[in-house]
């Protein structure tokens, strides 16, 4: 298997379409015969990230690189940035408005769940500029 690169532009205005990129990556991993456990981890981590980009950051770009060793994901947004990463990593802590909760998200589980489902995760954030989350799931 050679290295496969995928790019997605995430529309921050359309909550209905959030998850399309994750679904597309999941389909690719299945086609490539990646193990179900790893496929599930990538799907959950990426979907949580994609939802975050839509509800907090007006969308952005997702780049995914699939190699025989790992799936590497870079989620870059131009949103408000994260004021306190330690706090954002705590389960149950959320800045999501009630409107987002009524859609079934915003329980403060997104970032912790991304960390739980990835083997590597880094967050780079600049207030007022945006956040880039890099994750890897080993195959």
């Amino acid at each position: 298997m050679s290295i496969l690169k995928l790019h997605y532009e995430i529309d921050g205005e359309d909550f209905t379409r959030a998850g399309e990129a994750s679904a597309s990556v999941k389909k690719r991993l299945r086609q490539l015969g990646v193990k179900p456990d790893a496929t599930r981890k990538v799907s959950i981590a990426l979907y949580e990230g994609e939802i975050n980009m839509v509800i907090h950051a007006h969308g952005g770009d997702i780049d995914v690189e699939i190699s025989p060793e790992a799936v590497r994901m870079v989620l870059a947004d131009r949103g408000p940035g994260i004021e306190n990463i330690d706090q954002a990593m705590k389960e149950g802590w959320s800045t999501a408005p009630d409107e987002v909760r009524s859609l079934g998200f915003g329980a403060g589980m997104g970032l912790p769940n991304m960390k739980k489902n990835s083997d590597e995760m880094q967050i780079e954030t600049v207030l007022g500029k945006g956040t880039t989350v890099t994750m890897a799931v080993y195959l």
Partner: protein, 117 residues
């Protein structure tokens, strides 16, 4: 237990996915918070929910679920039905409330599966 058994136990209206009625269901979960489904659910193959939007179908897809049951008589819209059909997920609606629907399935032997630490 099959999807069809669940349909009968909960007196569901089948909305889409007739072809999946004979699929086996080993465990189930019930939640209106998709955040919690993504964080706490492991191998449950059916989701009971009172939430109605496209992300319910997406969440079920990410978790490899085969069926979504909408409680309290809620009905998905056409976009959701199309999405579920394209992803191989059956959709049903029951007039029971969440607590009763879960209780009926439990009474008939369906369990929640292993909890995650």
């Amino acid at each position: 237990m099959t999807v069809n058994d669940i349909k009968n136990i909960l007196d569901c209206e089948l909305i889409s996915g007739e072809g999946y009625l004979q699929q086996e269901v080993l465990t189930a979960c019930g939640s209106d918070m998709m955040s919690d489904v993504l964080a706490y659910v492991k191998d449950q193959s059916i989701l009971l929910t009172g939430l109605v939007n496209c992300q319910v179908i997406r969440t079920a897809e990410m978790m490899d679920m085969i069926c979504v049951v909408f409680v309290r008589g809620k009905k998905p819209d056409e976009d959701m039905i199309q999405l579920a059909e394209s992803r191989g997920i059956a959709l049903m609606s029951t007039s029971h409330r969440m607590f009763t629907a879960c209780g009926l399935l439990w009474e008939n032997g369906l369990r929640g599966g292993n909890s995650l630490s």
